[in-house]
Structures are given as structure tokens and as C-alpha cells.
């Protein structure tokens, strides 16, 4: 059954006149007549009661007119929605990102996305460092913002930002600026550092930093969660090294001392992911 036929029927059911209707829908009266006939044959029922003079809906025709009007507009809506999915203007995307940028980079990115694609639904998740690529490969997330360079096949990555590292100390701490740092003074500090899992480029940078001062830090505690680390520093339990993106978090009682080391932020996605939503978001992130 062709939907066009149903549209012809609906037009005729309004006009109840073959000639006028035929003109309206841009076919000849002959074609219209036969379209209605085929529709009736296909359904095995009569839609119109007609003689050579008058056209009138049968009860079944009246019923179908009402129902089909609803169904056709429903289908119309569905098709428009699908078109938006196709164009990547609608849909859902799940993004994992590090805690550090939840008050700096993420708000910017999200504002940009909702400005360009207001219909997109975005799910933000925080994923443990070691799970990020696995979740990406298993379609649990579609986009991962990480601080690590990966070399997974099937995953593409691109740098989107670069953070300075900063030494985070309580306000009352004697370290006021970078000049106060020395091997001697650092040796006396207790450190709260990210979990050292060996593979993370972020950890490696921190290791390099300590190496440049040529000492092994006294690590009081490891945590994977930046917000945990900040809370502990504020309580005076130690000092930490974090990306200075954390400065954008509302953290009274803390001092960030910038260090001459940088940590990159990379955006990761499946190379074979053809979801148009992804393509739109990547384009937006890279090109503004």
C-alpha cells in the first residue's frame, strides 16, 4: 500500500469531488479514480459510496479518514526525527572526562554543543583511568577525554588542550611561589599524588618532575580522584600536584603554584564510529 494513495484518499475525502481533488493533487481524474479503486481493492472494502453524480464516505471510509490522518502525521514526524538523527542533530552521546576539567574545559565544550545542536542529549560519565579505552571499545562511552596518549588500534585521538601542572598547597603553607621550591624544601613535604599505575602519561610527567629535583617524594596517599586530593590538601594532610584546571573549581583555602610542566588533554573516539552525532561533535570541538 502506497502512502501516496492514502494521501489521495484523504484529499478526496475532504473535497468529495474527483475533478477538483485531481487538480489539487496534480494528477488527472482518471488516475485518481483508479488510485482510489486500487486502494479499495487492496483493503477489500468500499471507501466511498458513489454514483456518477455524488461522492460520499462510507462508515469504513470515514473511520479510515480519521485514523489515517493521525497515522500519516505520526509517520511524518517520525521521518523528520530520523532525518535529524541522520544529520547528527539529534541523538545521544556519552562522554567520559577527567574530574579536573569539569569546571573549566567541559562547561565550554558543552555550551558550544548545546548552542549548535540543542536537540542533542549528552551523558557525562567519569570512568576510572584504566577502564577508559575498554569502555570506549565496548560502546559504553562514545568519546573519552583523557590525559594519556594511547596506541590502541581502532581508537583515534587528538589533542585538544594543554594544562600546566601546579603545586597545590594550603594558603598558610610556606610555599608561596615557584622560587620557594628546592630539593631540600620539597624533601620535607608529604605528597598526595594520583594513583601511580605506571601506564599513565600524567603520572610519568609527575615522576619526571621529581626526577628534575632529584629526589623521591614522601607520598602520604594515592588517589585517583582530584576532588579527594584537594580536600585532603585543604585539611593540611599534605601537598599535591594537579593540572591547573582545578583552579577553576571553587576551592577556597588553597594556593596553586604553576610549574613548568604541561599535561595534554586528548579526545579519543572509535575510528569506525559513523554516528553522525560524533562527527558533528568532533567537528565542533576541533573547529570551534
Amino acid at each position: 500500500m502506497d502512502l501516496q494513495r492514502i494521501k489521495y484518499f484523504l484529499a478526496l475525502s475532504e473535497q468529495l469531488h474527483y475533478w477538483k481533488t485531481a487538480e489539487k493533487v496534480n494528477i488527472t481524474q482518471s488516475a485518481l479514480s483508479r488510485q482510489i479503486q486500487s486502494l479499495e481493492n487492496e483493503l477489500g472494502l468500499q471507501l466511498f459510496e458513489r454514483n456518477k453524480r455524488n461522492v460520499k464516505l462510507t462508515p469504513a471510509g470515514k473511520f479510515l479518514k480519521e485514523k489515517w490522518e493521525v497515522e500519516l502525521s505520526e509517520l511524518e514526524y517520525i521521518h523528520q526525527f530520523a532525518k535529524q538523527l541522520h544529520l547528527g542533530e539529534r541523538g545521544t552521546i556519552t562522554i567520559a572526562h577527567p574530574d579536573s576539567i569539569s569546571a573549566s574545559l567541559m562547561p565550554d565544550i558543552l555550551a558550544m554543543i548545546t548552542r549548535e545542536f540543542p536537540q542533542l542529549q549528552i551523558k557525562l560519565v567519569q570512568v576510572l583511568y584504566e577502564n577508559q579505552l575498554e569502555f570506549l571499545k565496548n560502546y559504553k562511552i562514545d568519546l573519552a577525554i583523557t590525559r594519556d596518549i594511547n596506541s590502541e588500534p581502532g581508537i583515534r585521538a587528538k589533542k585538544i588542550y594543554s594544562d600546566h601542572l601546579a603545586l597545590v598547597v594550603p594558603l598558610e603553607h610556606p610555599f608561596k611561589s615557584f622560587d620557594d621550591l628546592s630539593t631540600e624544601s620539597l624533601k620535607q613535604q608529604k605528597f598526595i599524588l594520583p594513583t601511580n599505575d605506571g601506564g599513565s602519561s600524567y603520572s610519568e610527567i609527575i615522576q619526571a618532575l621529581f626526577k628534575s629535583y632529584d629526589f623521591v617524594p614522601d607520598v602520604f596517599l594515592h588517589s585517583e580522584f582530584g576532588s579527594t586530593i584537594i580536600a585532603l590538601v585543604r585539611k593540611g594532610l599534605g601537598i599535591a600536584i594537579l593540572p591547573d584546571s582545578y583552579m577553576h573549581h571553587q576551592s577556597p583555602g588553597l594556593r596553586f603554584i604553576p610549574l613548568p610542566f604541561k599535561t595534554d588533554l586528548l579526545i579519543n573516539w572509535r575510528a569506525d564510529d559513523h554516528n553522525p552525532v560524533l562527527a558533528n561533535i568532533l567537528k565542533l570541538v576541533f573547529e570551534g
Copy 2:
């Protein structure tokens, strides 16, 4: 957009394999391939992500699969429903009938209808005698059961039943049987009779009855409603003449004395009414 195409799409979206699907829907792989392509062109979007080896739904395709499945089954249901309307197995019909047969003939007719056409919706109404044909012509009712022969153009009628008239008296009344009736004894009675509107063949029969006893009745009250008349008779306010169909109403305290006069029941409908429901009901009423 042909619904058949959508069915092909749905089949392919299950199998995700052109050959197998083509076989299943009884066309060649070539035809299927092109049907899917036209569908994609028509919608202006991609339904499947495919290379020469694999077929996979796109997000839009996945969405449409779910929605179209629902819509198609909805349409299926609508078409079946319409078919039933066409066959007169579904639909609504409004029937007017006299109060007298609401406990005798009507239950029989209704039982018959619901047995044969359980999906039919029947509205029963009581319409004042003088409005019956007007309501029928104005499509307020579809079927009128009357006791009057009409000669309206456009209205067809057929006799379906014949009632005896009965004299209705309270149980304690001296009239016990037809033999107790005489001009003398009747002259002493107060009568409660139907409204005498002149045109009703029912009233005319009652007039003929009185004429056969050669007297003019002392009429205490006229009412168009049989149940009102019965209530008044039971209270001893007079005696009445009613079709003996009323015997089937639960009316303790009354005696029905059959009279040798008959009143016909006719069923009336619009001659040009092609509602299949009507045709079915008429057939049922006439042929059992």
C-alpha cells in the same frame, strides 16, 4: 512511500543479510537492494551502514525500525477494524422502539444481534411517537420499531411481529375474562388510554374496539408511556388497553385479558441507508 518497502526494510533490519532476507520476502537480492536504496533516497537518510560484507543499522535506521514496527502494526489493526466496519460486524446503530416490547421482543432481537455480531454497539432510545420518522430521516436514529404503518417516501418498513391487545385491570377487578366484557360493564369503567393523536394506527385500533362495543369510553387520562399507564392501573385509577407484550414486564397485581384485536409491529429504516450494519441487522431480524 510504499508500505511494502518498509516491510522489506524491517525484514532486512532483522536479518541484516540481503540474500537471506530477499529469499524470505520472495524477491531477488537485486530487487531488495534497490528497494532499500529507494527508501533511503526517499527519506534522504541512510538506513544501513554496509560494505560488500556486512550490513548494520545506522542510528536513524535503528530508530525507524522501532517506530515503523509500531506504526505498521497500528495500521494493520486499523485496516482490520475498517474491514469489520465494511462487513457490518462493527459499528454503531441506534434503534428506537416502543416501551411495550422492551421486555419481550427487544431482548430477543438484541440477543440475536450480539450472538451474531458481538462487536456491534447498539444504542436503544425511546422516541415520542410523533418524532420517530423525523428522527429517522435526520439520522438521529437508524432503525425505528413502531406500531404504525407509514407512507413516508425514503422510509422503508416491514412487519416483524403481531401483538394481541389486552385489557389491563387490577387483580381485584371484577373482569376476569373476555366473557365478562359487555357494552354495559365497559361503560362503567374509567379508561387510561394512549395519547390519541389521530394518526397512530394503534389508537385507531383502540377506537375500532370501542366502536365494536358501540360506546364512547370514559377516559380518565391519556399517556404516551405504557409504563405510566400500567402504574396507574395498578393503583386502581382505571383500566387500560395495551399490547399484551406488556405481560412480559414484571407487573404483579395486574391481569391481562386478551382481546380479539391485533396490533402490528413494524421495523422502519431509511431506504437509502447503505450502512452495512443496518443490512446485517435487517437480514438477521427477517431471516432469524
